[in-house]
């Protein structure tokens, strides 16, 4: 009986150890789990109604490296963002090439980006839409920490990406430009770099043109 119990304990130990080791392999730096591609049907439905291009198939290559980024405060984000919305990310597309392999230096692989499709709850600045695609460069662990199904305030601006100068709507200041709500009914959203954001105050500021 004792031997059986020891074998059982040993099995549990091996399983926990193996699970931990495998988690080390698949869990990205932000700890949100392996990057899911989300609800493809919902993304397609939103895309059709909003005139968005279909999301490319496949998994995004989210973890490309680490980037140094311009510091963008909340006030700067408010001032320069052409699009501000409250929305929920529903899906990620596969990676798209924005700089071809070998275009700049021989032997260097392509630089890629991927889209994150948001279902819009409320547009705070910019044209009305039911869905928006953010384009995320695959060059930093910090750029796509969006948790599918969670609610965010996003400040966004247009940029030309890669050597192809592909136009893309990106979060203003990347990670600094998205604020996550603790839950669906919260009025305050948070960003680890820029702190808390009271959405009612933000709406007031945007209405006043500040």
């Amino acid at each position: 009986m004792k031997q059986k119990r020891l074998l059982w304990l040993g099995g549990v130990a091996l399983a926990v150890g193996a699970a931990t080791v495998s988690a080390v392999i698949v869990i990205p730096a932000d700890g949100t789990g392996a990057y899911p591609t989300g609800n493809a049907d919902r993304a397609q439905q939103l895309g059709r109604s909003s005139g968005l291009l279909p999301l490319p198939a496949g998994s995004p290559q989210v973890n490309g490296g680490d980037a140094t980024v311009e510091r963008v405060s909340l006030d700067q984000a408010i001032e320069r963002s052409s699009v501000v919305f409250i929305g929920v990310p529903v899906a990620r597309g596969g990676s798209e090439e924005v700089t071809a392999a070998g275009a700049v230096e021989p032997g260097v692989p392509a630089m890629t980006a991927h889209r994150v499709r948001f279902e819009i709850r409320k547009m705070l600045r910019g044209d009305d839409a039911s869905a928006i695609d953010l384009m995320i460069l695959d060059i930093s662990h910090d750029f796509d920490k969006f948790i599918l199904g969670s609610k965010y305030v996003v400040f966004a601006e247009w940029r030309e990406l890669g050597e192809s100068r592909t136009p893309g709507l990106v979060p203003t200041g990347y990670y600094q430009g998205s604020f996550k709500f603790a839950n669906e009914n919260a009025d305050v959203a948070e960003n680890p770099v820029n702190g808390t954001l009271d959405v009612r105050e933000l709406e007031k500021k945007l209405k006043e043109g500040r």
């Binding site: 730096a29 490296g65 980037a67 230096e105 630089m111 990406l161």
Partner: protein, 179 residues
């Protein structure tokens, strides 16, 4: 010690081993330093970038000389520094691949190249940026402390990342114990 205690200790040790593996880029010895030590600039890098890039390397070389002897080479080496369009002015200044062997500086930025004067408020300091990216080459991840060279967000005109903080140096030593 009972057999049950031994089994529980074994379980804890296995879990701890798994957790230790979670430290990204942790050096476990071997030939890692010699793998790192040659760097070169691609044809996309203008010749007048040289002084700032060299200083960005020296920032680390001076504190890690027992472990890493960065040597600049021509033609090809282990670490490539290159210039390429990333996202225009603002946004990303530079990035380093997860393989820690390729550093890309955004061609859309106005770079401050002069190592003898501080940058103005409309340019990005190349020395500071190279220092940060060479930290990634050494497998350091971003720091949460705003004064550190490895903090990922700074303004045009900033030059404080030219100098490593005590925390930057501590983090480097933590990756390469015994150096």
């Amino acid at each position: 010690m009972s057999r049950r205690s031994i089994a529980l200790l074994a379980a804890a040790a296995i879990v701890a081993l798994g957790a230790a593996g979670a430290v990204r880029g942790h050096w476990t010895g071997g030939d890692h330093p010699s793998f790192l030590n040659t760097w070169y600039t691609g044809g996309s890098i203008p010749s007048d970038w040289s002084d700032a890039l060299v200083n960005g390397v020296l920032v680390w070389d001076n504190v890690t000389s027992q472990c890493h002897d960065f040597q600049r080479v021509t033609g090809s080496g282990h670490i490539l520094h290159m210039r390429s369009a990333v996202d225009g002015k603002g946004g990303t200044y530079a990035w380093t691949t997860d393989e820690h062997n390729r550093v890309t500086y955004d061609a859309g930025e106005t770079w401050h190249l002069n190592i003898n004067v501080y940058p103005g408020s409309s340019s990005v300091d190349l020395w500071s940026t190279a220092a940060h990216e060479n930290g990634h080459v050494l497998h350091l991840v971003h720091s949460g402390y705003t004064d550190d060279t490895m903090y990922p967000y700074w303004n045009y005109g900033d030059y404080y990342p030219r100098t490593l903080t005590a925390n930057d140096q501590y983090r480097e030593r933590n990756i390469y114990p015994g150096c």
